[in-house]
Symmetry: D2
Subunit: 368 residues, 4 copies
């Protein structure tokens, strides 16, 4: 029995088109956070998935649509607890949109044999447990899974993702940063010792917990840097760019909080190893991304803006060569809740279950 | 040949599901306004429609996606002129998302015999040409079509809409106001002489033309009433509520400009004709709307908020009885660009072409 | 010794102008709320007042400027506790910018004999203890002071305020609502049974406590009504308009939350008792307010906007007569933290201590 | 006769304190832009200045307060034309808050002999006319004044400013960038070839002209970089940092547009020439700024935020040493309309007329 109520049946004329022989059963833990809510929005319109479990310990027993009123008359289910063992027996895939440490503490072999795990936290993103423990100030309870876990940046690791049991969904800043810089790193065009990433994020990235710093009046009419030289996404970006470039990368990453709901913009700087032309670099970017559904390399001198990707799974990237300083400035824009969290998680699920990679992700950017 | 480029073919896995025997050819005039852009967003994912003509006189010859960069690699077409006669010969339906007076000046019998017209302006909304000319300060060039034109509020005029050649798509404020008050007016529960509508709108309702008053710094951190006791949507609301209640209605309507992109909230006040209970009024609202796909009557004491409908075609309504003043306060929330413009226009198109009313309108509200 | 540090001594060239023979010693309880912070901003530049006590129980011992970083190098003091008895012995006046119930529980005769009290909460605003207890759902611990307390709407009660020991600083919505409607009520121009006030407020009115509802992502891109037919400022407005009109007033008051930091706009509706001209009503408003420093009656068809008063103690008011409905629409705009809280409190302090009413309140509106 | 009307006389109790023997007569050209409006706000409360001329060609003859309604009942004057020769005969100082090229085209010796000029445009900021003409794509009509013009960054050039006839008021981004980096450049702590400045500005920096790009719906919910590797403030920053460091500086400067009204935040990156401790660098910053009224060096790990300086003339600066990358990250926050334009202009005026540098600039930051 599908977990949908009357109005949804009315509006989903595509209902009859679903392939009822292949419907993935989904459980979400942390369904009442912003990323969790976005998973629900996306999966509700996914043709081959149905949500069986809206996990939210703090709201257990309450109607999910009472918390996210946008789903009123669309989601009829109540919130459930967050017991991964129970859940694994009932579903095909579990999304954990939870704080650091939750998934790694709950995970075990029994769970992994019953359900695939897509973890939106950082627990399995870093291969080196020491780096994890140093930056996250947590002891990792199951480092034995770090090797197996696949880093779910679809455009880079597509083949490995297809066979994964345990998927580490990338962080929002890393997704945008890595995709923007990857072709340059991989092709050896930039001096990896000079990489500086100045990132700007909307406030949904800070989550839905009630903190004074995230109140409207504190965020509105303000911009600030935070966790300067210490943000936890730094080693994640470094690790991936090290793999891409084949050399150890140490870089600066500075996140800023912007008074808007959604969107991440990264502006990255690096010294060019040699003189290159616009055309040459454009050809490099195109060679990496022209076949990708969700990465758009913009036209010359059109710079990425978050408004053009909001609500969609797109990442828009572009670059500018500065002959005066011999640096290249690379920019990437993305919706932090879609490609930066829930959208990429669904993209990963599609790959892991042999579905078309774009299923459920056809949403176009909403503007204005 | 469909007007879509590579990336879109990649992402629309539903492409194959389209019924190629029934694909409506669509022309849009005024495609570069905010309502025009929203029509494009909706119709791109509509299974039985394809846009053949992106009309925008001021941008003629430019790539449409150069103006709305969100459609980069999705819409490959250039902007066309706004000749309705030429266009009528090529398409099945024309949407005019244009300023007052455009559609009525261009319209003629030849056009109407070739294509259905869905006019998003006010030219054919009012049955009484004198009221139109007084409030809009324009001479109506073709009053002979006023009788034929159907007022496209789907929930009220569904059957007439199905057979319409010329469809007057309702204004944003009227859609929200009328749907919120309709059951009370129709059932005779309120004194129609006491109706006051205090409305609040996001800034996309003011359009995309470059005016100082709509600059970010003028709108942000501000709220104001405008066109007090003189807004042109007043007679439209009055006419429809007069039809509903069977008596002439004269009311107060005050719009306010709110620093947000999308959303309309109306708060309406009226004196109750007799003592009524919550249950009684709730039953009335449910009887009108429980079968509607796009009107949600909220639960007791849950008041409509624009964030819960943003990006979708929903109207959320609710009411509160105040026994102290013997008034009822009615609230409605809606996305002004969707149910208040483009979404309702597509809903009308669906009805006019015999398609499921909800086709292309399954978008769920985007939050946050 | 004054509680100011080096940089402030550098910037306040007016320091030498202060009359050192008359420096009011001020204590603030609730100094870390938004109204408390605004009191600090205003009093720092007041020529005859110096803050001796920054009370904030939850932040006791912390540097005040560590919480409100805007006062870094301006305020050197640490937060103190909230013991009114101790405080009363040290200062001339205590501002209580605290939740309902705090001031009334702490107040006693000893305190009142040592210091004047300006209470920014609702504890002493209503004369009828039953109405207070019904709407605030609290038992009033010292109703014996209700008679003595003066309702501090300076423009209405200037003479009484001058002699007050216990001053009830009006609520934000009531200040704006009452000043906007007062001349009409007093002159008997409107039917008091028809008054409807639709109010819109910035989010600072919701206070600084960490609640999910007030997070940036919940407030931004949203508008909602709240506490419909039940907001506690209703009886306060009713009581004052009853006094003005000489008849019992029961009205509708609906507050809305707007995505901006500061500002209140009220839009009020009432039926005119008789036909009146614009000039006649304008003359009435002018007769009440032309000598007032902080009330500006705008010119014909210029409607109040919060951006034109932000940061200042002004209230801008205007009206529009609607001959179609025989109603008058009255609008008022104000900064909720200044004239709606801290500014009015200082205006009251000035009156209570025999200072020029405008001292410390010369701030001009900040735009944009 | 002073140019103020009744309400202002009521509120300015400080009126009597003005030294009537020394009242600077001020003319403003470009008084209806945002910087012009801010000059009016500041000068209205300045004890030794009175505005005699509100120049605005496009609004000539209209009441100034009809354009900036915040000055209703405060400024009674009408807008005047922009004839600098006429104006110079009537005032002591002219502020030109005008587009590039205006001041340099109008300037001549007659004007300079009658009035001091404070130019808020870029016409006289760069010493090298070739650099000006290359970056601004204008021919400079009077390069003979470039040598005489004093670059008005008060904290750097205080003594020269005192004697200036022609003052080039610094750009907003340069003010914030230079003050943030100056101590490091001057002390030789950083490798000047590695300087990268990533800047973020509120939208008032884009001016008040009606452009689609600056509409509310285009700016809100968006962040973008613009003029990447080509912004005109780049050579201004480079020139000043070259002077400070004693070596030619070529750097990257990337501005971003943030959805807020006011505020600039710069985040700058540079490689340290040698290992330094926090204490050492803090001591350097303190040695440069501890006597400054308007520069606040924040405490360790407290990073600048625009909300803490909004509405004031403060610049808040701080830094973070990253031992991993051997870089220093420097941040500065400022109100672009105050210290970045009008406030600094008044600070310069004070110096040029022998007044206390802080006169009229005592406004405290407004939060929230």
């Amino acid at each position: 029995m599908r977990n949908k109520c009357i109005i949804m049946q009315k509006i989903n004329s595509w209902e009859t088109e679903r392939d009822r022989n292949y419907m993935i059963k989904v459980g979400i833990i942390g369904a009442t956070g912003y990323a969790g809510g976005e998973l629900v929005r996306i999966l509700q319109l996914h043709k081959n998935a149905e949500i069986k479990w809206y996990g939210s310990r703090s709201n257990k027993g309450q109607p999910y649509a009472g918390i996210y009123q946008n789903f009123f008359k669309i989601v009829a289910a109540d919130c459930m607890d967050e017991n991964m063992e129970t859940l694994a027996a009932e579903v095909d895939v579990i999304f954990t949109a939870t704080p650091q440490g939750f998934c790694s503490h709950a995970l075990n072999e029994t769970i992994l044999q019953q359900a695939k795990i897509i973890d939106l936290s950082a627990d399995f993103r870093l291969k080196d447990v020491n780096i994890y423990e140093k930056w996250y100030e947590l002891t990792h309870p199951c480092p034995q899974y770090l090797e197996e876990a696949v880093y779910g940046l679809c455009e880079l690791n597509r083949e490995q993702i297809k066979g994964a049991r345990l998927l580490a969904n990338p962080g929002c800043y890393p997704t945008c940063s890595i995709l923007s810089l990857y072709p340059l790193a991989k092709e050896g065009l930039i001096d990896m010792n000079t990489v500086i990433i100045d990132a700007k994020s909307g406030t949904s990235g800070a989550g839905r917990s009630a903190k004074t710093d995230n109140l409207f009046c504190e965020v509105n009419e303000n911009i600030k840097a935070y966790k300067v030289a210490g943000h936890r996404h730094t080693p994640e970006i470094e690790e991936q760019l090290s793999i891409a470039s084949g050399e150890p990368v140490v870089l600066n990453f500075t996140p800023h909080l912007v008074p808007m709901n959604r969107g991440i913009l990264i502006t990255a700087y690096a010294s060019l190893k040699r003189e290159v032309s616009y055309k040459e670099v454009k050809a490099v970017y195109d060679s990496y991304y022209e076949k990708e559904a969700f990465v758009r390399v913009l036209e010359k001198d059109v710079f990425p803006q978050t408004r053009w990707v909001e609500g969609s799974n797109f990442v828009d990237v572009n670059f500018k060569i500065d002959p005066r300083t011999k640096r290249i400035i690379v920019m990437g824009a993305m919706d932090n809740l879609v490609k930066g969290a829930a959208g990429q998680a669904v993209q990963n699920m599609n790959l892991m279950f042999g579905l078309p990679e774009t299923e459920g992700l056809q949403m176009l950017p909403v503007f204005p």
